[in-house]
Symmetry: C2
Subunit: 411 residues, 2 copies
C-alpha cells in the first residue's frame, strides 16, 4: 500500500479523534504514509490536506485521544446523487495524484453515504482505491452495529450531569419541576441514558420521554402532576425530537407563544416549551435546561471503553484495508457484542449500504408507558460508560492538541 | 463547648459540602457534638435536624467533599427585618433546648443576613450563642474576601466547557456565531473566567460581555461583524445579567421575568435573545447555549484548590468559635491573598455586616472596551482553578454520598 487519506465528517463526538488516532497510528506501525483531509471531502476538493504521518510521529500524539471535536475539521457536504456529476472525476483525479490506495471516512449516516457513492463511482470507472467507513455518532442511530463510537461518552456525560442536576434541583423543600432536553435527533438513545442517574434512594429523573413514542401534552401534564404527588422535586428528561400524534415537533409549538417584536418566529427547544406548559397548567416552579453541545464535545467525561473501541475501530479499518483492499472496499466497521455475561466487542466489516441513510431507533420493547425506560436497557448501556481516561491538565483545564486546521482565517 | 449546629443555605456550589465537611470534621477532631439543620433555618424551624456527628464518624465521610449540591438540603428563607417577630424567640428556644453553643451557616449574601439578624437578636436578649458565617457562592460577589469558595470550581468548569464548545463550534469551514450564556447575577466573575479558554492559537471566545458594563445591541452587532471578518467561528460569552443603558435586562427584551422571594430577578435567556438579533442583522448561522445548573453543581470538574479552601474555611470557623465564642460571634470567614508571586491564602474573621447585603462587582479596570477582559485578570483567577480532586467512580459515574435529607416525600 502506498498512501492513505483520512477525513472526519458530521458533528463531532468526544472520541472521533480516538478513531483518527487509531487509523493514523496503525498506518504508522504498518509503515503506510497517511494524509488528512481538512474539513472532510469538502476541504479535499479545495486541496486542503495535511501530512498526518508528521503528526503521528510526534511524541505526544496520544493527546489526540482526549482532544475534543474534529482534529481535521469537519463538513456537512453531500455528494451529488448523479454519479455522472463532474465532482466525482475531480475527486478521483486528486486521489490518483496523491497515489492514494485507501480512503477512510470517520462519520455517521451521511458520511457513510459519501463512502458508498465513492465506492460506486470507483467501481464504475474500474478504480482499485478502497473506500472504508469508520462509524461515529453520539446518536447511536446507526443500523447493524451494536452501538456507535461516541455514544458511550455521551451516555456517561448525560448520566453524570443529569445526576448532578437531580441533586441540585432537590435541595429545596418545595415543589419544583426541572426539564432537561437531550440530543439524539429522531432517536432516543441519548435521552434514555439519563436513566443511569437514578439510584436506590433517588427516583429522578422520574419521567423520560423519547421521540420514538408519540408525545401528548395533556398526558405529560397528568404525568407531572402525579410525579409531584410523590416527590417534591421532579426531574424530567426529554429528547429534542419529541413529536405529537400529527408528527409536529413539540419545539415548534413555540411559534404560538413566542414571536419577537418584529413578528419573527422563535424556535426554542422543546424543554422551554414544556416549561411554559408546566408553569401555566400546574403553576409550580419550573426550569428547563438544554444540555446542548457539551453532550458531544466534552473532554472532561470521556468513557475509556468508548475511547478504546473508537481507536480499535480505526485500527481495524486500516488492517482490513491492508489485508484485502478489494474486500474492504465499500465497507464500514461495525461492533458485535459477544453473547454471555462478560462484555466483549468484536469488530466486523459490513457493506456501507446496509448502514447509510438508515436509522436505528430506540427499541419499543424498552419503552414503558411512553414515559419511562425498562431496566433491561441498563444491561445494554452500562458497559459502554465504564472507565475513565487519564486526562493531562495544563493551566487547570484538560490539555488538548492543537487542531490540524486553522480557523483564525476565513476560507 | 457543648453542641454546635450547621446549616446550608442558598444555591449549591461544587464545594459547599467541602465546607460542611470542614466544620464537621474539625468538630469531631475537637470532640464537639454536631447537629445539622435540614433545609437550613427553614427546616430548623420545623425541627428537621440530623445528627452530623454520626456521619462524620463514617469511614467514607470524605466522599462528602466531592458530592455536589447541599448535603443537608438548602433554603431561601429570609428572616423578618423586625427583631420583635416571634420567629426569633422560637429559634432561640430551639437552640437552647439542643444546648447549642455555636451556629454555623454556610451561604452567600442572603445567608450572611440571617447570621447578622440572629447575632443582633442574641445580643438583645443577652444570649451567648455564637453565630458564624462560612461563605459560599459561585458568583464571587461577596465583599471583603479575595474570592469565595465555589467560584474556583465554577471558573474551572466554565474554562474547560467553553474551550470544548470553541473547538466544537470551529470544526466547519463556514461562518458561525455561538453565544454562551453564563451565571453570576449582577456580577461578571463567572463570565470573565471564560477567558481562560483562549490559547495562543485560538482567539475564542473573541467577545466577552459582563453585566458591569452597559450593553448596547447596536454595538454588539458591530462587534460581531468585526469579529466575523477575522474568524469563521466567533464564540461570544455573555452574563445572564447584562443590561442596556436604561437598566433593562437584555433577557427582558422578549421574555417575561420572574422574581424569587428575595425580590431578585430570575434571569434566563439573554443568549437566546441575542441569537435572534444576530440571525436577523447578520444572517449567519447562530446558536445560543445556556450552561445553566451544571456550572454550580458539577461533580466532574471540581478545583482542588477551591475544595481545599472551602474545607479550610469550615475548619477555621469552628476553631475560631472554639477559641473565643464572643469574638467569633457575628463574624464570617474571609480569604486574604498574600502579596508576592506565590499564591497563598490566609483566613480571617470579619463582622458579617461588612459582607451581608452587599455585592462585589467585577472591577472596571479589568474590562476592556466593554467587550473584553484584561489579561491582568488571569493572574487573579488562574490559581483558583488549579488541581483536580481524586474522584471515586461507581457504575461509571462519580460516586457521591447519599444526602442527609429525603426528597422522596412532600414536606
Amino acid at each position: 500500500m502506498r498512501n492513505i487519506i483520512i477525513g472526519q465528517s458530521g458533528g463531532p463526538t468526544a472520541v472521533i479523534n480516538a478513531s483518527l488516532y487509531g487509523v493514523a497510528m496503525e498506518a504508522r506501525e504498518q509503515g503506510v504514509h497517511a494524509y488528512g483531509m481538512v474539513n472532510g471531502i469538502e476541504g479535499f476538493l479545495e486541496d486542503r490536506i495535511v501530512n498526518l504521518s508528521d503528526y503521528s510521529r510526534m511524541k505526544d500524539f496520544d493527546l489526540l485521544k482526549t482532544t475534543p471535536a474534529a482534529f481535521l475539521g469537519s463538513c456537512r457536504y453531500r455528494l451529488p446523487e448523479d454519479l455522472d456529476n463532474a465532482v466525482y472525476s475531480i475527486v478521483f483525479k486528486k486521489l490518483e495524484d496523491l497515489e492514494i490506495d485507501a480512503f477512510f471516512y470517520i462519520g455517521g449516516n451521511d458520511s457513510m453515504d459519501t463512502v458508498d457513492k465513492l465506492r460506486r463511482y470507483g467501481k464504475q470507472i474500474g478504480s482499485d482505491i478502497c473506500f472504508v467507513g469508520v462509524p461515529k455518532t453520539i446518536d447511536n442511530d446507526l443500523a447493524v452495529t451494536d452501538h456507535t463510537p461516541g455514544y458511550g461518552s455521551t451516555a456517561k456525560f448525560v448520566a453524570a450531569t443529569v445526576r448532578d442536576i437531580v441533586w441540585d434541583a432537590g435541595v429545596y423543600a418545595r415543589p419544583v419541576v426541572t426539564i432537561v432536553e437531550l440530543m439524539g435527533r429522531n432517536a432516543g438513545w441519548v435521552t434514555a441514558a439519563s436513566m443511569l442517574a437514578r439510584t436506590s434512594f433517588e427516583p429522578n429523573p422520574m419521567l423520560i420521554y423519547l421521540p420514538e413514542e408519540t408525545f401528548d401534552v395533556t398526558d405529560f401534564i397528568r404525568d407531572v402532576k402525579e410525579a409531584l404527588s410523590e416527590n417534591n422535586s421532579v426531574v424530567i428528561c426529554v429528547s429534542e425530537g419529541i413529536k405529537d400524534s400529527t408528527g409536529r415537533l413539540i419545539c415548534e409549538y413555540e411559534e404560538e407563544s413566542m414571536e419577537d417584536q418584529f413578528g419573527h418566529k422563535m424556535l426554542a427547544g422543546c424543554a422551554a416549551v414544556l416549561e411554559r406548559f408546566v408553569k401555566r397548567s400546574i403553576g409550580c416552579k419550573c426550569r428547563s435546561i438544554e444540555l446542548n453541545l457539551p453532550q458531544r464535545c466534552t473532554s472532561i467525561m470521556i468513557s475509556a471503553t468508548d475511547s478504546d473501541e473508537a481507536e480499535a475501530a480505526g485500527r481495524f479499518a486500516l488492517k482490513s484495508a491492508m489485508m484485502n483492499k478489494g474486500l474492504a472496499n465499500g465497507k464500514v466497521v461495525i461492533f458485535k457484542r459477544a453473547e454471555g455475561p462478560k462484555y466483549h466487542i468484536e469488530y466486523e466489516m459490513v457493506p456501507v449500504e446496509e448502514v447509510s441513510n438508515k436509522e436505528k431507533l430506540f427499541p419499543e420493547k424498552w419503552i414503558i408507558n411512553g414515559n419511562d425506560i425498562s431496566v433491561d436497557f441498563l444491561e445494554y448501556v452500562r458497559p459502554l460508560i465504564q472507565g475513565e481516561n487519564h486526562i493531562k491538565y495544563e493551566n487547570g483545564i484538560p490539555k488538548i492538541m492543537k487542531p490540524a486546521y486553522n480557523n483564525n482565517q476565513s476560507f
